[in-house]
């Protein structure tokens, strides 16, 4: 008994602080298994950034397109306003000052606020906007008198023929405006088309920014050109309003002397422009119907491949997948899509354990060794051979796990239109998924590792039929689980899925 206790004490004392450093491979294996979880924060952050980035992008495009729409409507409004309300003394004063195209543009831009200025960079193709912007800057500076003065001096300098001398004053005028260089550039630009071309900006939408830039390059001298003998390049401009009827220096002088004295000038111009202004504006490409609300539904089929163990199998039953998404068209049929999806599925994990009972039956045998196999009597010895007859038993362990998933897709979208009605909608991107997993009875198996957050790489191809604002589609969504949701011990799993889908879409 004493000896027994000694043995117990011996083991107890020996293993009391028994430590053996494990090989580094163990830590590496642990890191591999829980590695996804350690970078959980990064996944969350990257996912969040992507979603936020997409939202910002969509918002930005939506905002700019709205403004573009507003701007074109502003242009329309201001044009109309010019024709009807040119009795405004300030606008006539400007027009008197410049005695050219500035007048009309000044009056037109007095209505549009900073938005036009903001949109200047975006709408380089829209000459309307740029014209009105330039004038707006002049009138909206709040220093109309000063502006007038600077313009007056400009025209005055034109009289003297020293265009260079005008520069500082014009700069001064523009410098008082918050828009700085842009305003001066716009101002110069505004001088180019001429007062009578109020409708011209509407038609000038097709002009590119280079033309606008060239107009800008005309710089301060533009009014001189518009009023001077060189005249505007467009012969029509010279026939309109003040510029066409007057000897530029004298006319401008008279107007500058008292801007309110000559209200007739813009009215005359307006009367010539009314018909042109009634031309319908081309609809901006991005204005309206750029959003597409979609609903997709269909069965989800999954193929789980495994590359490392024939004794572990995974079967996933077909399930139902639903998603509601919203798409924003950006340009040329390209867009971004996001939304949410839902799926509820279950999978069976089976582990077959093979038990080998070594040496269940052992047979010893002696095999004769022949010196010459052809001569039976030439036995030189015996070779003892032991046969182990193994008895193996296999046991199947099955685990049933249920998974509920909410996914947030983020797709790049392209819609190819074959005809007015038929097309192909292609989505490619990722789906960020959040899981709630109900692990079934373990049945002697280890519990799977669960990542609550996973990510799929997905492509979707739908044939579309459009009817008014509605679109119906049918196709497939397919992909691969890039970051795994459920990891089974010892199972190197790859999860591929395909979903035949129907889609219903509404464009607004």
């Amino acid at each position: 008994m004493k000896e027994d206790n000694n043995i117990e004490d011996l083991f107890r004392s020996s293993f009391d602080h028994f430590e053996v450093a494990p090989p580094p491979a163990v830590k590496e294996a642990i890191d591999r298994k829980i590695g996804g979880s350690s970078k959980k924060g990064l996944w969350w952050i990257s996912g969040l950034l992507l979603v936020l980035g997409t939202a910002s992008f969509l918002f930005f495009f939506n905002y700019s397109s709205e403004n573009q729409g507003k701007e074109s409507s502003d242009n329309q409004l201001t044009s109309t306003e010019t024709s009807s309300t040119n009795s405004d003394s300030k606008t006539t004063a400007h027009s008197g000052n410049s005695s050219s195209t500035h007048e009309s543009s000044t009056s037109s831009t007095s209505q549009s606020g900073d938005k036009n200025a903001l949109l200047q960079g975006k709408n380089t193709g829209s000459q309307k906007g740029s014209h009105s912007d330039g004038n707006q800057n002049l009138s909206s500076s709040g220093n109309n008198d000063k502006g007038n003065k600077s313009l007056t001096s400009n025209s005055g300098s034109k009289k003297t023929g020293s265009a260079k001398a005008n520069n500082p004053k014009q700069k001064q005028a523009s410098g008082k405006k918050s828009t700085g260089k842009k305003s001066s550039g716009k101002k110069n630009n505004s001088g180019t088309p001429g007062f009578n071309d109020l409708s011209a900006p509407l038609d000038l939408i097709v002009f590119d920014s280079n033309q606008q830039g060239n107009n800008n390059n005309n710089g301060i001298n533009t009014p001189v050109d518009g009023n001077g003998k060189t005249g505007p390049k467009n012969p029509d401009e010279t026939n309109n309003g003040v510029t066409s009827d007057t000897d530029p220096p004298k006319k401008t002088d008279s107007v500058v002397a008292d801007p309110k004295e000559n209200p007739i000038t813009p009215q005359t111009a307006d009367s010539t422009k009314k018909e042109e202004k009634k031309q319908p504006l081309p609809k901006p490409k991005n204005a309206g119907e750029n959003w597409l609300a979609s609903v997709y539904a269909g069965p989800l089929f999954v193929n789980n491949t495994k590359g490392n163990d024939e004794y572990r199998t995974l079967q996933e039953k077909p399930s139902f997948q639903f998603s509601a998404e919203i798409n924003r068209s950006l340009f040329a049929g390209y867009g971004l899509t996001t939304g949410f999806g839902f799926n509820k599925r279950q999978e069976n994990y089976k582990h077959t354990t093979i038990q080998v009972q070594d040496s269940a039956i052992v047979i010893n045998d002696s095999i004769p060794i022949y010196g010459n196999p052809n001569v039976p009597d030439s036995i030189t010895g015996y070779l003892d051979t032991t046969y182990y007859l193994d008895d193996t038993t296999s046991t199947d362990y099955i685990q049933l796990n249920r998974i509920q998933t909410i996914g947030i897709p983020l797709y790049f979208t392209k819609h190819f239109s074959f005809t007015d009605k038929w097309g192909l909608l292609v989505n490619a991107g990722a789906v960020f998924q959040f899981h709630k997993v109900s692990v079934g009875e373990l049945n002697g198996m280890s519990a799977p590792a669960i990542n609550k957050f996973s990510m799929n790489v997905t492509g979707r191809f739908h044939l579309t039929y459009t009817w008014n604002q509605w679109t119906f589609s049918a196709g497939v969504s397919t992909g691969w689980e890039l970051k795994r949701a459920i990891i089974y011990q010892g199972l190197d799993r790859n999860r591929y899925f395909i979903t035949p889908q129907l889609g219903f879409h509404f464009r607004f």
Partner: protein, 179 residues
């Protein structure tokens, strides 16, 4: 040194805190695993599974309890699970084992060597003997607790323990004879 702050971060799933805990306790836990398994490879598997469980259950850790004991409990449970799953956990009731010859080189001069040799003795024991012996002698569990853990009767646990000791005696006596 594992501070309370590290424990709190570990409880919140902080990976660096887990790494620190692994660095602090992996050697001791590997020793535990070696005692319960047949070989070093199996011990590595158990240690790996144990620390994966430790990481995944970090949220369940109660800060007012000693972390080392919590980790050791999970490690031992992992070892028992592994034994049940991978070893044919047969409780030997026959005495035929004691008739077998087991030769061990026992040296008591070097403590480290002695420990290694005792470990070798443990690995020579049948799985049931070794498990019960470990739980009773080193983990200080009662036979009732062992019976609950292994899902066996208390008397079986006692008999396994005594047979384990008998076999250890034989192994050690054989060495004495050799010496």
């Amino acid at each position: 040194m594992i501070t309370k702050e590290i424990e709190e971060r570990f409880k919140n799933g902080d990976r660096k805190a887990f790494d620190a805990i692994y660095a602090a306790y992996s050697a001791a836990m590997f020793g535990v695993c070696l005692r319960y398994t047949r070989c070093q490879d199996d011990a590595q598997d158990v240690l790996q599974e144990a620390f994966i469980r430790i990481y995944r259950k970090s949220g369940q850790y109660s800060l007012d309890k000693p972390l080392a004991a919590w980790i050791k409990t999970i490690t031992i449970n992992s070892a028992l699970t592994y034994i049940k799953q991978h070893y044919k956990f047969v409780l030997h009731e026959e005495d035929s084992f004691f008739d077998q010859q087991h030769e061990m080189d026992i040296e008591t001069e070097d403590e480290e060597l002695l420990r290694k040799q005792l470990l070798a003795v443990l690995t020579k024991l049948p799985d049931g003997y070794r498990t019960v012996f470990n739980l009773f002698v080193i983990e200080n569990l009662t036979h009732k607790e062992i019976a609950e853990h292994l899902d066996i009767s208390e008397s079986t646990s006692k008999s396994q323990f005594f047979k384990a000791k008998r076999m250890i005696h034989q192994l050690l006596d054989a060495e004495k004879v050799r010496a």
